[in-house]
Symmetry: C2
Subunit: 108 residues, 2 copies
């Protein structure tokens, strides 16, 4: 049996970054649509509250996957977009989307 | 903005199936090593309790990703392996692993 002793299983690391009720959806929307405002994200992702959305966006910013831009206007105009590093997760988000779609079709 | 109204975001569906503290690790080990007994999985995945391992294996069986085989012997000999359907998640698990490894290197 191949010993796979590692500090933490890389799959768990990836899942840890991407887990969070809405993070997959957030990354997918930003990956598909580019920069978006919180209000736009909320309209696309049914069921998420503003507080949870902003917290998960902040976690994605902390992890370096998303960039927050304050456009310095009043009223406040803030947008979020995939960072250069976040783009490395693009193919993974696409594959999660494709597999998820096939799983939805399978379970009907 | 491209409306992406779907019953549930497929990325969330995929994350829902794969989420669970150890499921990524379990799928990766079974994907890498073939059929394994619970004891073997526990030795490979440090920190998981037997109860949690068996519960997450049962959920993966319910979702159709893993097959449980009772070899009909005494003492009890049970093994788990990736199902034919579970194999469709193989490339996804590999990509999660690769991205997770790169993320581990990035955060040091």
């Amino acid at each position: 049996m191949r010993g796979l002793a590692e500090p933490q299983c890389p799959v768990d690391t990836a899942m840890g970054v991407l887990s969070g009720r809405w993070k997959g959806s957030i990354l997918w929307r930003l990956h598909e649509n580019g920069a978006m405002r919180p209000g736009e994200l909320r309209r696309e992702i049914s069921g998420v509250s503003e507080a949870v959305l902003l917290r998960q966006l902040a976690e994605l910013v902390d992890d370096g996957l998303v960039v927050r831009t304050d456009h310095g206007t009043w009223p406040l105009h803030v947008s979020y977009e995939i960072s250069e590093y976040g783009a490395t997760a693009g193919p993974l988000v696409e594959q999660l989307c494709a597999w998820g779609r096939a799983h939805q079709a399978r379970i009907g």
